[in-house]
């Protein structure tokens, strides 16, 4: 009896230690840093020294200071715009992919995904040189007679950030939309055509509604990636393109206020969580696979 009992106990101890071992690394390197980070957002800075006393000061500052809320709002508008433009470009591309057959479909999909793996810094640099005063875009517009002389409209401002983020993030919009379009059963489309619907009707009443979950996922992907980016705005935004990510990053550099930066990060995290939950809520495919 007792031998069996101790065997069982040993077995449970073993299971427990395996669990502890499995959790050790993720908890130590992911959960603990995030927890410390959260606590930091309630600290403050006094003469360049971090004061380890809890207060809501950073959050009060965020909501009352006239600087931060407008930047926050502008950044939200910017990232929503990026998401919308990405989807407007990605949706037709994803539709086109589904009209292709077999190998071609996946080859083209791969082709549209490869730029994702290319060096991010170099892409930003190249886009900046394309948008710049002597850049390709201005030269082309002048050559086409649309502009009389090169315009500084496309670089070192909010437009530049919008264009650059869009260019960087389109592939993230293509993939989920393509996957949701691909999942639409072909017989639904055939049935709609058999019943005399035109191509437009079929698209508006069958394809579009069934692909909306993919659109929602794409929107949440692009938005989250755009709002978390602090390097792109830093590089192409100049002095006029100030985004939330840059304000946040500057707290850990020039402004040197880590606790306030942590509080800003918490606000960022909240927005991201809401965006992910919304994407998850509307991105779920309701019974289309059935």
């Amino acid at each position: 009896m007792s031998a069996a009992g101790s065997m069982q106990l040993a077995e449970r101890c073993r299971a427990l230690s395996v669990t502890a071992l499995a959790f050790a690394l993720p908890v130590l390197l992911i959960l603990v840093p995030l927890a410390i980070f959260l606590v930091y957002s309630f600290f403050s800075v006094d003469h360049g020294e971090i004061r380890h006393e809890l207060s809501l000061g950073n959050y009060v500052r965020f909501f009352t200071d006239p600087v931060f809320l407008p930047v926050f709002r502008n950044t939200l508008v910017l990232c929503v715009s990026v998401a919308v433009i990405c989807i407007l470009l990605a949706y037709p591309a994803a539709c086109f992919l589904t009209t292709l057959k077999g190998r071609w479909r996946y080859a083209l999909l791969m082709l549209l995904m490869v730029p994702l793996l290319m060096s991010y810094v170099i892409k930003i640099y190249a886009i900046r040189s394309i948008l710049g005063l002597n850049g390709f875009l201005n030269q082309a517009l002048v050559w086409a007679g649309i502009l009389e002389e090169p315009s500084p409209l496309f670089v070192f401002n909010m437009n530049a950030i919008l264009l650059t983020l869009t260019l960087l993030l389109i592939p993230f919009a293509i993939l989920p939309i393509f996957l949701s379009l691909e999942r639409i059963p072909q017989n639904l489309i055939s049935a709609s055509e058999d019943l005399g619907a035109s191509r437009l009707q079929t698209f508006l009443r069958i394809t579009l509604p069934l692909s909306l979950p993919g659109v929602a996922t794409a929107a949440s992907f692009v938005f989250v990636l755009a709002i978390g980016d602090f390097l792109t705005p830093q590089m192409v935004g100049g002095v006029n393109g100030f985004t939330f990510g840059r304000v946040l990053y500057s707290q850990f550099g020039t402004a040197y206020n880590w606790p306030f930066g942590a509080a800003l990060s918490v606000m960022l995290a909240l927005v991201v969580i809401v965006a992910i939950l919304l994407g998850e809520r509307f991105g779920r495919n309701r019974g289309a696979s059935a």
């Binding site: 959790f23 470009l89 591309a93 057959k101 190998r103 082709l111 793996l117 260019l167 850990f252 960022l268």
Partner: protein
């Protein structure tokens, strides 16, 4: 097939073309420039040359950063593949708390990298760990862990239970079953996960910039150089990295896409 192309399909094809041009123009401009002489920041399209590649081979700073990136990438791959595989096995073994564990592992991948990076930065400071390549490797591992974990877990879940049972029936011990049945079946998923992890680590910029010490990886070095403007040899580097990336893509596809799907197409 092309005979059936409707005007709307042609319009879609046109938009797709535009998207492809938009996606590839930031890659092709530097690559094209790498084969021409650049003087005073302007590309001289009438003078093709390979001088950019010659200059690159003598650029110590860039080559050192490239070597650092490769070392960081390899360490990240080893750490993340070992940890990710163990965690996937733990999850698959129907152990307690696996949903929570999965959630924790996915956190750094879901949250913006700036948050993971800053959290680690503060953590290292509080723990008294100097910022160095070690902290960069930890940052990268935390970031790519979810990918390796998910890749291996997906393979585990698609693996037939009967394989393991057959192994036990034939008298193999747990360890023998693991080494001779489970692991060989996971090998290609682990290889695919490793390549993805390496690709992500190779280009990781935002976490790296926050947790790096004096010695740093290529993207961060490029970032620092970009403020001053690039020298022409960077264009050559872009061309080489693109070729390398395409090669990695082909390899990853080779390991991750099941062979048979090619026939069903």
């Amino acid at each position: 097939m092309s005979a059936r192309w409707h005007p709307s399909t042609i319009a879609l094809a046109a938009v797709t073309m535009v998207v492809a041009v938009l996606l590839y123009s930031p890659l092709f401009v530097p690559i094209l420039s790498s084969f021409f002489v650049v003087s005073h920041g302007q590309v001289d399209w009438s003078r093709p040359s390979l001088s950019a590649y010659v200059t690159l081979s003598g650029n110590r700073e860039i080559l050192a950063a490239l070597r650092t990136t490769l070392v960081v990438g390899l360490c990240t791959v080893v750490l993340s593949v070992v940890t990710g595989t163990l965690l996937a096995l733990y999850h698959h073994g129907r152990r307690s708390g696996r949903a929570l564990l999965q959630f924790i592992v996915f956190l750094p991948f879901l949250m913006p990298p700036v948050i993971s990076g800053l959290a680690l930065l503060i953590f290292f400071r509080e723990a008294g760990i100097e910022r160095s390549l070690l902290t960069v490797v930890i940052g990268h591992t935390v970031f790519v862990l979810a990918i390796v974990y998910r890749t291996v877990l997906t393979r585990l879940q698609s693996m037939s239970r009967t394989l393991v049972e057959a192994s036990y029936d034939l008298g193999a011990s747990r360890w023998q079953t693991f080494w001779r049945v489970v692991l060989p079946n996971l090998a290609s998923a682990m290889a695919g996960g490793a390549i993805l992890a390496f690709a992500l680590s190779f280009d990781e910029t935002m976490i790296t910039i926050l947790v790096t010490g004096t010695q740093t990886t290529l993207p961060v070095r490029l970032w620092a150089m970009m403020r001053l403007g690039f020298s022409p040899d960077i264009n050559a580097l872009v061309a080489l990295i693109l070729m390398f990336t395409v090669l990695m893509c082909v390899l990853a596809a080779h390991f991750l896409v099941p062979r048979r799907s090619a026939d069903t197409a």
